[in-house]
Symmetry: C2
Subunit: 469 residues, 2 copies
C-alpha cells in the first residue's frame, strides 16, 4: 500500500472535518442522528450538517449543500435516498472531499436491478472524481484513539484497544460476546470501493494495531485478498469470521451486502494457507481477540491446569484433547513440593485439584493459591496455565487477580487464562476481574472450553510464525 | 421405583431434621461451615451440630455423637476424616437415621488402596444398617422448594425451577453459563450407593420436576442406567453432560469420583437410543435447560427469523443449516402485507431484516416490531421464531419484552428465542430481559448460534416423542 493510499484511507478514521449530508434535527436514542452521535462520542473535529430543509441543526449552521460549506471537508457521511447518491458523490468530488461514507442502503443490497445500477453509477462518479467510498449500506468507521464514530445507532463504547476491525455488519462496532473489539473499525458494507484486502493492508501498516479482526460475507477479488492476507497474517494475527456458508445464507448475503460468498471449504483452505485464524461464531471471535490482544504467545502446547473443581478439571481435559493441547505431568521437583503440601492419600496431578492441598495447608487459601500458581507457571515443562477458580477467589487474601499479576510479572512469557468457573458468580464478577487484570498478560473467559479453544489457536499461530521464519 | 425407595431418597431433599457430624464453630465465606449455610439458605427444620470438642456451635448445643441427640434425625451430613467414616455410618444406623451425605473425600477418589477399602467398608456398614449414602466426596443435596442446601461453599442462590439436577460436581449447584439450574439437586460424588439411575428414577417420579439435568463422569451399572433412562426420557426431557472423554480425562475422573468412564462413542449411542439429549459443554447444558424449561415444544423445524442485523441474519442461516433447522419462505399473505410496509426496492425474506421496514413505516419502531412478530409467529408455516434484536429494543414503546409476552399469549404453542444480539449491550440488559420474560414461553440466549442449537434440540425431542407414541 502506497503512502498516498494509506493517507486516503486514513481520512475515514481520522478526519479533521466532516460533512453529514442528510443530517436530521431529531435527537435521542432512536433518532439515528449522526451529528448527535459524533458529539456524544467526543469527536473534536469540525462537523458540518448538510440539509436544505433546515437553517440550523443541533446548534450548528445547516448548509443547503456540501458546496456551501466554507471550510475544507475531509470526510462526507451520506444518508440520503439512494437515487440522489451519485449526484451527492459528484458534489463531494467538486468540493475536493476525498472520502465518503454512504450509510444508506438500497444499492447492490436491494432486490431490484436499479439498486445495482445506482451502485455502479456511484462507483463511476467516485472514481472519476477521486473520491474513495466506504459502503454503501454501512455503519461507517470508528476510532477509539480519537473518540470518533459514525455509528448512527448510538454512541458506542470504545476502548483504545490495538485491534483493527474490518466488517460487513455494524454489529461488530458493539460488544462481541463479552469483548469490546473496536479499536479502530471499518464497516465495508457493500464494499463497492474500499474492500477487505485494502482495509487489511491499512491495518497491517497502522502502528496502533496489533491484532486484525475480519468479518466478511464475501469478496470480489480472491487473488488480491489472498496475497494481502498472506502477507498481513505474518506480521499480525488476523482473526476471521466468514459467514454466508450455505446456499440460503449465500442468497441472503447477496441481499445484505451484495456479496458473492463462495464455497465454504474454499474459504477454509484459503484461510489455512494464509495463516488466518478462523472463528466459528461471534463468541469465539471475541474470545480469540481477547487472547491475541491480552496474552503473550503460547510457545508450545503444554498446559498446566489448576482447578477448584475436579469436575471442571475433567471437562478441561476433554477440551484439551478436542483442541490438541497437551496436559503433561508436572516436573518431578514441582510434584514433590506439591505432594508435600497434600494429604497422604493424594498425589498431585495435572489438572492440579486445589482442594486436597487447600484443606491440608495451614496457610490462608489465597496464599496457597499463590504458591500453586507460581509452581505450575514456573514449571519449565509448561507453556501456559488455565485457572479454573471461582470468581469468589477474588475475596481471598491475596485476591486471585493480585496473584495472577504477580505470577505474570515473574513469568512474562506464558499466557494465563482465568475461568471464574462456569458461571459460578460469573456474571457478577467477571468484568471486574477483567478490569483488574488489565495489562497483566492474562485473560478471562466464560468457561474452560472457550479458554482452551483460544489458547490452542494462540499455540497454532506461534507454530505458523515459527514455520514461516 | 417403589414408594418406599422414593421416600428414602426424599430424605436427602426434604429432611425434617439434620445432624451435621464434624460441625465447626468457624463462620464466614471461607469457613465451609454447613450449619451456617443451612441457616443462611433458610432451612426451617431441626439442625443438630455434632462435635465432641465443642459444647455449643452457632448458638446450638453441640452433641458429642449422633447418639446423644434427643430427637429423630432424618439426615446425617458427615464431614470427618475418612478413616472415621465407617464408624460414624454405624452410629447413624444405630440412631435410626436412614440417610447420610458423606462430604469428605479420600475414598475411591484417593490415589491409594486404603481409600477404596474404606469406601467398600462404608457401603457394607450402610447396607447392613439400612442407611442410604450420598457420596462420599460430594457437596450433597439442594432443594429450592424448601430453601434447603447442604453446600459447604456458600449459600447458593436457588429458584423454584422445575429442574432436577443429578451431578458429580458441586459446580452444578451454582450458575451454569447464565442459567441457574437447581431446582432440586443431588450431587452423587463417588456414587457408592445412590447412583445416577436411582436419582433419575426419583426425578422421573417427582411431580415438582419437569426437566432432568444429568452430569456424569461414569456409571457402574450400564444396563440398569439404560433401562431407567429409556423410560425417564419418554416422560421428561433428560439433558446430559457426559465428561471424561479421553484417556487422560478418564484417569482424572477415576481420581475425581472413582468413576469408570467408558468409551465416548458408546455413550453417544446409548444417549441417542434412550432419547437423552447430550450437551457438549456446560454453556450448552445451561442453554438447553433454559429452552426445555421455558419454551413450549418446537413442533416442527420451520423457523422464522426477525433480525435487526443483516449480518447476524446471515450467521443465523449458517447456524440453521448446521443445526438442521429450516428457514422457509413466509406465506404469500404475510409476505404481501410486509412488502406493503417496505421500500419499493425491498422484498421481505426470511430472515426478515427489520431496517428497511422500520425506516419506511410511519409507526414508532416498537409498534412496527410488534406487527412484525405477530405476522411471523402467526404464520401457519412457521414453528418458532428467533428474534435477533438489540437489548436496546427494550427502550422502545412498547418494549420488546411486552411485545414478546403479547405474541406468546396470542400464539402459545410456538417457542420464541430472543438474542439481544451478540452482546450489543448484552451484559447490561440480558438478565433484566430474562426476568421480565419470566413465564412468557420465551428464552434469552447469548448469541443466535446458541439459540438455534437449543431450538434444534427442542425440535429433536418433539420428533423423538412423536416417534415413540
Amino acid at each position: 500500500m502506497t503512502m498516498d493510499s494509506f493517507a486516503r484511507l486514513k481520512l475515514f478514521l481520522e478526519p479533521r472535518s466532516i460533512a453529514v449530508i442528510g443530517a436530521s434535527p431529531n435527537t435521542g436514542a432512536h433518532a439515528f442522528n449522526i451529528v448527535e452521535t459524533l458529539d456524544l462520542s467526543g469527536y473534536k473535529g469540525q462537523v458540518y450538517p448538510v440539509n436544505p430543509n433546515y437553517a440550523e441543526i443541533l446548534g450548528r449552521t445547516s448548509y443547503p449543500a456540501i458546496s456551501d460549506i466554507p471550510g475544507d471537508v475531509d470526510l462526507a457521511i451520506i444518508m440520503v435516498r439512494r437515487d440522489l447518491a451519485p449526484e451527492i458523490v459528484q458534489q463531494c468530488a467538486d468540493k475536493g472531499t476525498r472520502a465518503a461514507i454512504i450509510v444508506s442502503g438500497g444499492f447492490a443490497d436491494a432486490d431490484d436491478e436499479e439498486g445495482k445500477r445506482l451502485q455502479q453509477e456511484v462507483v463511476r462518479v467516485a472514481r472519476r472524481g477521486g473520491v474513495r467510498i466506504l459502503g454503501p449500506n454501512t455503519i461507517g468507521s470508528a476510532n477509539a484513539f480519537t473518540d470518533f464514530s459514525t455509528s448512527f445507532v448510538k454512541p458506542i463504547d470504545m476502548r483504545k484497544l490495538p485491534i483493527g476491525v474490518i466488517c460487513q455488519s455494524g454489529l461488530f462496532f458493539g460488544t462481541i460476546g463479552r469483548m469490546q473489539l473496536v479499536g479502530k473499525g471499518l464497516d465495508l458494507g457493500n464494499a463497492c470501493d474500499v474492500d477487505a484486502a485494502e482495509a487489511l493492508e491499512y491495518f497491517e501498516q497502522d502502528p496502533d494495531i496489533r491484532v486484525i479482526v475480519l468479518h466478511i460475507e464475501g469478496i470480489k477479488d480472491g487473488k488480491r485478498f489472498r496475497a494481502v492476507a498472506q502477507r498481513a497474517a505474518r506480521k499480525k494475527p488476523v482473526l476471521a469470521l466468514k459467514s454466508g456458508r450455505g446456499e440460503e445464507a449465500a442468497k441472503a448475503a447477496q441481499s445484505h451486502t451484495g456479496s458473492m460468498v463462495g464455497r465454504d471449504e474454499v474459504w477454509d483452505a484459503l484461510f489455512k494457507q494464509c495463516g488466518v485464524i478462523r472463528a466459528g461464531d461471534v463468541n469465539e471471535l471475541g474470545d480469540l481477540a481477547k487472547a491475541f490482544c491480552h496474552l503473550p504467545p503460547m510457545k508450545g502446547r503444554r498446559l498446566g491446569i489448576i482447578t477448584a473443581s475436579g469436575g471442571i478439571g475433567i471437562m478441561s481435559l476433554d477440551a484439551c484433547s478436542k483442541y490438541n493441547l497437551d496436559v503433561p505431568k508436572l516436573s518431578p521437583e514441582v510434584r514433590e513440593r506439591l505432594n508435600g503440601m497434600s494429604p497422604p492419600w493424594f498425589r498431585v496431578g495435572n489438572p492440579v485439584d486445589i482442594w486436597p492441598i487447600m484443606i491440608t495447608q495451614p496457610r490462608p487459601m489465597g496464599e496457597t493459591m499463590r504458591l500453586l500458581l507460581r509452581e505450575v507457571l514456573g514449571d519449565p515443562g509448561i507453556d501456559g496455565v488455565l485457572l479454573n477458580t471461582g470468581a469468589w477467589f477474588e475475596s481471598f487474601t491475596p485476591p486471585i487477580t493480585e496473584i495472577i499479576r504477580e505470577a505474570a510479572d515473574a513469568c512474562p512469557g506464558k499466557p494465563i487464562a482465568l475461568c471464574p468457573y462456569e458461571g459460578w458468580l460469573y456474571d457478577v464478577h467477571a468484568q471486574d476481574l477483567e478490569a483488574k487484570l488489565e495489562g497483566a498478560r492474562s485473560a478471562v473467559f466464560s468457561i474452560s472450553d472457550d479458554a482452551l479453544r483460544a489458547l490452542s489457536r494462540l499455540a497454532d499461530y506461534s507454530e505458523f510464525i515459527r514455520e514461516e521464519l
